[in-house]
Symmetry: C2
Subunit: 342 residues, 2 copies
Amino acid sequence: MTTNWPTNKQWILRKRPEGDISAEDLAFIDAPVRDLEDGEVLVRNIYLSLDPTNRIWMSDQDQYMPPVALGEVMRGGTIGVVEASRSSRFQPGDLVNPGLGGWQAYTIGHEDAVNPVPSLPGIPLTAFMSVLGATGLTAYFGLMDIGKPQPGETVVVSAAAGAVGSIVGQIAKLKGCRVIGIAGGPDKCRWLVEELGFDGAIDYKSEDVGAALDRLCPNGIDVNFENVGGKIMDAVFTRMNLNGRMALCGMISTYNKDGLVAGPADFAHTLMKRILIKGFIITDYLPRAGEAFAELAPWVMEGKIKWKAFAVDGLENAAEAVKRLFTGDHDGKLLIRISPEP
Amino acid sequence: MTTNWPTNKQWILRKRPEGDISAEDLAFIDAPVRDLEDGEVLVRNIYLSLDPTNRIWMSDQDQYMPPVALGEVMRGGTIGVVEASRSSRFQPGDLVNPGLGGWQAYTIGHEDAVNPVPSLPGIPLTAFMSVLGATGLTAYFGLMDIGKPQPGETVVVSAAAGAVGSIVGQIAKLKGCRVIGIAGGPDKCRWLVEELGFDGAIDYKSEDVGAALDRLCPNGIDVNFENVGGKIMDAVFTRMNLNGRMALCGMISTYNKDGLVAGPADFAHTLMKRILIKGFIITDYLPRAGEAFAELAPWVMEGKIKWKAFAVDGLENAAEAVKRLFTGDHDGKLLIRISPEP
């Protein structure tokens, strides 16, 4: 036990958002940290991951986990450092991933649910919150397990400058594909082509996406890694080739909307072109994380995959910062820096 | 060469249907039969298969084969008997499948595209136009290759009393599944349950499909073999379980409509439940036909799969008879009997 047992800071879900997330939906509170039981560790969280799926968890729509209950700590992935331990597996000072540590300064985790963060030479801790964390695994498994890209095929990624999309496109390039990204604004598009090596990028804010796809994908589209949904998805879908694959990772364009969001406007295309559509959630693939890590870690260490983290300082800013996911007003994986790295 | 070289009768596509197929869309004409070249056989067609996909072929929508061109013989599968042969592989009197023989009395086929019709004890020729033809293969591969039903799972089939649907349901029962069919009218529903052994049937003409699914599928739906599309598909889709599979075989409810038909109304369900949607066309599976035949033929011979053919006499009646596919006014696989069996 530490002598200075800390007070916790937590973001609590107060009410379910209507449309965009509002400051009213969450409350920032002080809370005591209880004593540890056998097998538990106290983790001081360092980084909190902000992800589009946060908006889903805040709603009570039918979803892939239970919604965050009103009055509960907001759910989120963290990385932190062990401050106190009643587990023989962890010592104070160990860097760990306490699972879904939540939007809070301290997390108590059971040793069975806490994982050590590996140390790789020259790789910063933030990598394990992005390219070598759930973000990278999402990109890897959606593309490789569902998209099954073959050399020479055309892969289109939406939200391509996002944390997941930017990694998807780079993996597809490493696998020998032609890769086109759809992103918002000239800076992001330039980054995709000039820095990440995409074969083309479409600025959906200023271009006709369909016409641009016609120009940039003269042989049609074989794989769609879909993050956006709605009209952008439709523009891609109608151009998909025979036996095309859509890895449906998210539909961020729809999360802040009420009501149901329909599938592809031309669903007959699914039949005529024998397209495969598969929704996936990264949690399904966690038992296979080692497969992804084995390919991703060398690429990251060799600089073959580039990635960015955009860390906003201060847990107190999380409720404002999460909105950036929906406005695109951030650059790389969006994190909150809750406390300093050791 | 025969001494009495016949005159052909053909249905020609005159114009593309608007909405329902109309008698004006097709013309019934006389045409000469040309001389055979080396390797060719002259087939007198006995049965013509009428299928929902006929309506797709008549349109110029983007589809899985080229549309039937205006002025061309209407496309369709046939079985017939060889009347004359310049192939060493076929003799007059042989029963053959000349591929897509077309809506005509005689078809000239090249030996490489003509297949013998096997002879099975006690099995009528019409079986090879239904349960042991493309219809049965469609049911088998859509269910087994995409649906991948596991014992104890719940399978829902739409257009369940149709030629394909009725076989799908029986295969699923043989594989140990709970099977619910959706069909139009009490007679069809009774047939599914009392004759074919379905666990339940829903009359979409008189019942609330969603409420009936809730009652009949208390554990949700694992596999949807989808023939109908639209609202019936939606009622099934929203009840699909985690890792559910939709084998998209057809969307007959939409074929006579203009404009695009959207995918599932609640597409987010694809993501939340990690559902797989896969369109398929039986032509893709023809190289694997032997797999299906090996399971289906014993079932048919042992009476474990029941099937019906509904043969309308006279090629001249084809253009009227094809409409029955869309009104449901037929019972079993819809055929035209063009000429008598030998």
